[in-house]
Symmetry: none
Subunit: 458 residues, 2 copies
């Protein structure tokens, strides 16, 4: 059966790429309220795609913000196992727009890569699962397992609606394994199964000084400047070597299991790749760790945005009344986002410079995740990758956060296989995001191979 | 002679106010290219006013942008002293327009105040000198001194043409004293002679870290974040008490003359006024100085703008590739802007965090100014104020910068008497600018009294 399905995939590949382009043209930026209707339109587009794929039931499910799309095909029967596939159809904002070589919502293929916001994260990878299932149904008329899709529109804003939905719809989502393709491969040609994700805690900091902006000549020197107070506070979060100075920040972090230490060491430090990908001459981070350890196994506190005062051309001699910062922490097993919020807020209270008031607002939060790779689903995935890529899969962790993974883990208690097809260099969240179509093709085949291996062992 | 002239002024006062209204109706906004022709029309209006006043020669002098107006009456003879009067006929932009109670170019008198853009800064004060000279000529048929007027149309955009003009026309502008009325009185009823202005040095700082913006999950912890590097650098500029940490920053600052220390002390700390005007509960600044000393006599380093990364609604998990800051220093006598630029650049070089490159760009600069009040012109001005206001004049400094004053000082080397008639509350540069007509009346008499006292002592 696998060979016929793969032949079918190859025959229809150009059509799939065209469909992906249509999917990518929809500007489903979940963070931007101006795109609220575009997000909804994208959910409706997905409903049609899932219906065409042969799903028996497809629903657009309302939430407080952006809808979920749910689909199922349960004709394998009650005795058969069920595969749940999660993906997301929302995308990151696109600024700075002037750095895009082609517009983010006008998909463009150059040099075997499809450029568009969401190409890799996560529309491309989500559509691959839909197309793989569609191909199996078109060729065989049936599937060896029941399948359920849950595709959300809020992943890039921290999945605010998903927790409650998963918690209250455990029955509907009941499955034997959860597959997610939203993590990168180790490198070109080297597939990876991700066994751990960092958690996240995002905070906005707002500083207020004077009642209005002031003339820096007439008032300068006699009142606190909100920007000076802010940079002083922000500088206090880390020491000069990048070690986080928030009291208790590193408390309770779990040591890496010995086996994972070894497999991680076998992958190398990642230092040269890090320099290459980021374009820096000099790496920077917590002493005593490699780049791979720093990004996969250690927590962070990163400024994502700082702003206040005049930003135009030239000079404006102003003392700004307010100043602002956005930061996110990445958390590792043993840390909890609520606890981290409290510790940062305490640090801010203890380090507020004189002459200003500081307020904070908590945004996204998600717990870290670590998967024991003992279930047979992991072996099926590893074999599928080996079939198609002709190499051993790497067991990796990821520095990013998919908070919903921890939610699924807690609510459903099933193995979660994070098998991604993107490359680390594909500019997720940045200008010129793209997806290597080579991995689109190989990924479709890998998914079909996974179903076959999982079926053989079932 | 003084009494006859003052009687003449009182007789013609309503006519002068009508002329000032005509002057104020012309929207001479130098910063706005849409008003280019209006600025020129205002110069032509001034030429007519100076001709009517009895000047022998009046010129509209072209520059690269807005014309200068020059006028002279030299019939006191080569042996007599010459008074040079500087003013400006251009005005600030008027937005936000909706905050004006009456339109900015429809002069309106309410409660003894004349409301219009430029009423106080500086059309009102400039016209007073013209009318005072006109009255003296009408009553006496002659003046005790030669007089020259130089009235520019670019003061509100930093006087880009004036430096070169003053430098190349030293002969034409040769005088024994320069009078400028463009600084505020201390308060209602309390006239002031401004004896010092702070200089300025403005710098842009640009930090580059990674080659592009990065995902803070995938890369966070292993590379320097441009924003962290920037806040660390910026925090290093001042200590927690606001003392500037740039090596040598305070070197060479001239001590305040004892006499000025006493007169400054007599004016009070200014602390309560500072709190009231800025809306802060707590003042902040260099230890050991009052608010008045901090803003008038001490240098500053103030952040005017800081920006980098994501500034939109919500969260974007990005490590920004670049981060930026704008800062201005205010300088006091003994400091030089070029030297300060070099010291700050050296500080930046010495405090650049690892993993980033930092570049700087110098913007506006202007030297500080301090007038030794020993020349008899200052005594004449003080006596004139005392005659009319029945109070002792305050010797003040100003925290702001009027770079042209330092230009005149360097090029002409004559005493510069900054004798203003505006009040600090008159909304220069803001909506509802106005001028107290009481000070228009008293100011006319003060100017005539100044000429009389200066003549007695000559």
């Amino acid at each position: 059966m696998k060979e016929a399905v793969i032949a079918h995939l190859r025959e229809n590949r150009d059509q799939y790429v065209e469909e992906l382009k249509d999917f990518l043209k929809l500007p489903s930026i979940s963070a931007d309220s101006a795109h609220h209707e575009d997000v909804r339109e994208t959910a409706v587009w997905l409903k049609a795609a899932l219906t065409s794929a042969g799903m028996d039931k497809v629903e657009v499910i309302e939430t407080d913000k952006h809808p979920l799309v749910y689909a199922e095909w349960l004709r394998a029967g009650e005795e058969a196992e069920t595969i749940l596939i999660y993906g997301h159809y929302d995308v990151q904002p696109v600024d700075p727009l002037d750095l895009w070589e082609t517009p983010p919502f006008e998909p463009s293929i150059r040099d075997g890569k499809l450029y568009a916001r969401g190409a890799s994260d996560d529309k491309g990878q989500t559509l691959m699962h839909i197309k793989a299932v569609q191909a199996m149904l078109e060729v065989e008329g049936k599937l060896p397992f029941n399948v359920k899709f849950l595709i959300e529109g809020e992943e890039e804003i921290g999945s605010p609606s998903l927790d409650a939905f998963v918690e209250s719809e455990k029955e509907k989502l009941a499955a034997d394994v959860l597959i997610i393709s939203d993590t990168p491969m180790l490198s070109a040609g080297r597939p990876a199964i991700c066994t751990g994700l960092r958690g996240i805690a995002a905070l906005q900091i707002d500083v207020r000084g004077t009642k209005g902006d002031l003339h820096s000549g007439l008032y300068g020197g006699a009142v606190q400047n909100a920007l000076h107070a802010l940079v002083q506070l922000l500088a206090s979060f880390r020491d000069e070597q990048g070690r986080i100075q928030v009291a208790g920040f590193y408390d309770g972090i779990e040591a890496l299991p010995e086996a994972e230490k070894d497999s991680l060491a076998a992958l190398g430090s990642g230092d040269e790749e890090m320099k290459e990908e980021t374009g820096v001459r000099e790496l920077f981070g917590e002493a005593g760790y490699t780049s791979r350890e720093r990004t996969w196994t250690r927590p962070t506190l990163e400024l994502n945005g700082v702003y206040g005062g005049f930003q135009g051309e030239g000079v404006k001699t102003v003392i700004p009344a307010t100043a602002h910062a956005k930061l996110t922490c990445r958390l590792v097993p043993g840390q909890d986002p609520t606890d981290i919020f409290e510790k940062i807020e305490a640090h801010i209270a203890a380090h507020t410079p004189p002459g200003v008031t500081i307020t904070t607002e908590r945004h996204d939060s998600g717990k870290p995740f670590a998967a024991p790779v003992t279930d047979r689903a992991f072996q099926a995935a590893a074999q599928a990758y080996a079939d198609v890529y002709n190499t051993e899969v790497a067991y990796t962790r990821m520095g990013g956060s998919i908070p919903v993974v921890e939610t699924f883990d807690a609510a459903l208690g099933v193995p979660i296989v994070l098998m991604g097809f993107g490359l680390p260099s594909e500019n997720f969240h940045a200008p010129n995001e793209h997806f290597h179509l080579d991995n689109f093709d190989k990924g479709l085949e890998t998914i079909v191979a996974f179903w076959a291996h999982y079926a053989q062992k079932g």
